[in-house]
Structure formats: structure tokens, C-alpha cells
Symmetry: C2
DNA sequence: GTATGTGAAGTGATTCACAGCG
DNA sequence: CGCTGTGAATCACTTCACATAC
């Protein structure tokens, strides 16, 4: 859905007011069939013989994603990654409002990020309640990740996006999603094997994949 | 596979020399059956009645991922995200060697990142050849992403990890993987819906998911 | 005529359960 | 006896194809 939303935003910017499943499929490179099936999960907006109304469909997707409201999020960890994420997610186009950034290092507390002063991580649960934060982005070192989760289990936090390279555990009722940037590059590495210098022993995995006809 | 590799590294650090599929499953929270099926893709190392040899299995996974060799990668874009990625991926534990960082802004060219001087993006194809870069991380603004791809199509680059929030197109033979951080948070947002203030109309999507028994 | 929405078929991934090996 | 490795069943997702609505 987020991919469709991005494509719709681009289409809207270039003046299109309507889009067919095939046009969307081309923009997102996917098949038209799957686009239609995906969009059928929404309270539909498609018109047969015409296509989808761009603005209306974008609205439906935003509702589906729960970002028709600019959801309040917090960033935990104001290192390079946390800071980069804070800036990136502050663009309201993505559907979020970065309301607080936390760090445990005295040198960073009070420093500005975007237009926020970095808060002490010790105040995390209080700030989550005070600012009604619903989602938290975890961008702390691996060793600290689980303790961040533990600190907010008794708040109304709904979801955690974990960038720390360890799986964290949270009770039911708090959704967790893990993103590991090294993992992404490792998976790419597998599918993009080096050209063997000495083509002697055959590799354990597949060779270069087939062309897209 | 990367998840297993991470778990194995942790197990190794805590003195374990052997691990069962069930132990790995717990560490990665997955089912033991799928762990075994996944690992069966490797030139096996499992011993019935005992489990897997931690060091041997880690080696097999690294080979599978093509990182038994510390693959040379380049980072294109030395903004906040590019810089954060350069630092993160410079940890040799992940299996990569960051050999160059590029940017097109005159203010940044020559500045140090990790222990590299930022290079001019105009020199990208030459540097890819000179340094034998195999993978590129794209961390540039959306508008510049496709031109980065176009600049390296005639080199021996094997894969591109694209962090720019636009789909980029590359010819067959160059693997592309897309990571969109806003998308990840949006997907989390969908699965972690806000608690409705006025529980009047039923939501279009599923409610809070079932507990993990 | 055109493009959606959706049963039905096909394909791939997960789970089960157990034979086989150490 | 324990744990792997894997056929067989199950489940989910994708693709096809067309009736349906505009």
C-alpha cells in the first residue's frame, strides 16, 4: 500500500486525476492483477471503465494505513541513524509527526534535532504518555534495544520499529517490526553474486537470474 | 539467512559451539521446521542427534551470502542517511568493506566520513571500476536516484541497494533492492492501529491481532 | 468499449510428521 | 534416544480470465 501511495502522490503532482490499475502497476512495477486485488481491500473507490480517482484512492490508502491523521511518533536514539530518521520522517508527506527524540548520553540531551530538543531517555515512558506517542522508532545500540521496549510496555504505545540489529520481544498488543540495514545488503549480496574470477567449481546458489523477458 | 547469522554470532560469543534448529528458532523467533528447511539450502553442516556446528554453519551462511570475502561496497550520497549507513556498514562483522563515499555537493567533497574522503559523484563510474566496487548503496534524494543507476550501468557493479523513495530501473544483470524507511513505518502503522477514541464505526481493517498463544 | 472486481487455477512457501542417521 | 532432512499436506499469495458495471 505505501508503494501505491507514493505512486499516487507522484501522479497527482503531474496533474493526473485518475489512474488505471495498469498505470499504477507500471509505476510500481507490479502486475495489474495484484494491484486490483490489493486495492480491493480498501473501501473501494474504483470505477469500472474509468479507473481509480487519484485523490480519493490516496485518501483510502492513508486511512487504511492509519495516517489520515499525522500519527505522533518518537525516535529513541539520537545517533547518526536516529537523527537521519528524525529528519526523514519529519516530512509530513509520509504521514507522521515526529514529536520527540530521546538519547541517554548527557552530551546529546538538550541538543536540537529538526526543531526538537533531545530528551533524556530516562523520561521516555513519561513523555510517551504526555505526548500521546503511538509509535516509536528504536535507533539505539543493540545492547539497549530491549530495555527501550521494556520501558514502554506499560504505556499506550501501539508499535515499535526496531532498527537495532537484535530481535526484541514485546507483549501482545504492541506490534513490532524489525528493519536491519545490514541484512538488506546481505540479501542483495546473495542475489548479486560476484563474477567468479576462476570459473572452476560451480557455486552453491543460483547464477545470475533470468532476464525479465 | 542473515538473521541466522546474527543469532549464530551471538551464540558463538556466549560460548556455544553447537546449536539445534530449535535453539536457533527460539533466538530468531521462527519455527524449527523452517529453520531446518532454510539451512538445507546450504552445503549442509548439520549433524543428526547433535545439531549444527556454530562456526561451521556461520561460515556456510557467509559463503551463501557471498560475504566470506568482505565485499567492497560504495555509498552514494553523504547526507545524514548516507553517512549513518557508511558508519554502520563499516563494521566488518556485517561482511562488507566500505571503500568509497560519494556526493555531488562541493561543500561535502573532500570531507572525511569514517576514514574516507568523500569523492565527487561525477567520478562514480571511474571509481567503481578502479576500486572494483561490487555493490552500491544509494542514499541520494529521490530526483537523483535514477541518474546514479544510469551512471554505473556500464561498470561491473552487481547490485544496488536503493534507499531513495522512488523505484529505480536497472538492466538485467544488476540486482536492485529497495528499502523505504517511511514505508516500513507506514506498514507498522497499519498493523498497530490507534485505539479508537469513540468506538462507533467499525474500522475497515483488522483489529488488534491475536496473541501468540 | 473499457477497466474493475473476483471466482478459479496455478505457484510458492510453511507446517506437519516421520524416516534415517549419528 | 535426539535431531536432522525431507516427502506430503496445508496454507497463502499470485496470475488468469471473465462476468459486471460504467
Amino acid at each position: 500500500m505505501p508503494v501505491y501511495l507514493g505512486a499516487l502522490t507522484a501522479l497527482s503532482a503531474s496533474g493526473h486525476t485518475t489512474a488505471s490499475s495498469e498505470a499504477l502497476a507500471r509505476a510500481c512495477d507490479m502486475s495489474a492483477a495484484i494491484v486490483r486485488r490489493d486495492l480491493s481491500l480498501l473501501d473501494h473507490t474504483g470505477r469500472r471503465g474509468v479507473g481509480y480517482d487519484v485523490a480519493q484512492l490516496a485518501g483510502a490508502i492513508r486511512r487504511f494505513l492509519g495516517i489520515d491523521r499525522l500519527r505522533p511518533v518518537g525516535i529513541v536514539g539520537a545517533g547518526r541513524m536516529g537523527t537521519a530518521l528524525a529528519h526523514y520522517l519529519s516530512d509530513p508527506q509520509h504521514g507522521f509527526s515526529v514529536r520527540a527524540v530521546f538519547d541517554s548520553s548527557a552530551a546529546r540531551i538538550g541538543q536540537p534535532v529538526v526543531d526538537l530538543a533531545i530528551r533524556d531517555s530516562a523520561t521516555l515512558p513519561a513523555a510517551v504518555r504526555e505526548l500521546a506517542l503511538e509509535l516509536l522508532v528504536i535507533a539505539v545500540p543493540a545492547a539497549a534495544a530491549q530495555s527501550v521496549v521494556d520501558a514502554v510496555v506499560d504505556t499506550d504505545i501501539r508499535g515499535l520499529l526496531n532498527f537495532a540489529p537484535v530481535p526484541v520481544r514485546a507483549p501482545a498488543g504492541i506490534e513490532v517490526r524489525h528493519v536491519d540495514l545490514a541484512t538488506e545488503l546481505q540479501v542483495l549480496s546473495h542475489f548479486a553474486p560476484a563474477i567468479p574470477a576462476h570459473p572452476s567449481a560451480s557455486r552453491s546458489s543460483l547464477g545470475p537470474l533470468e532476464a525479465e523477458s
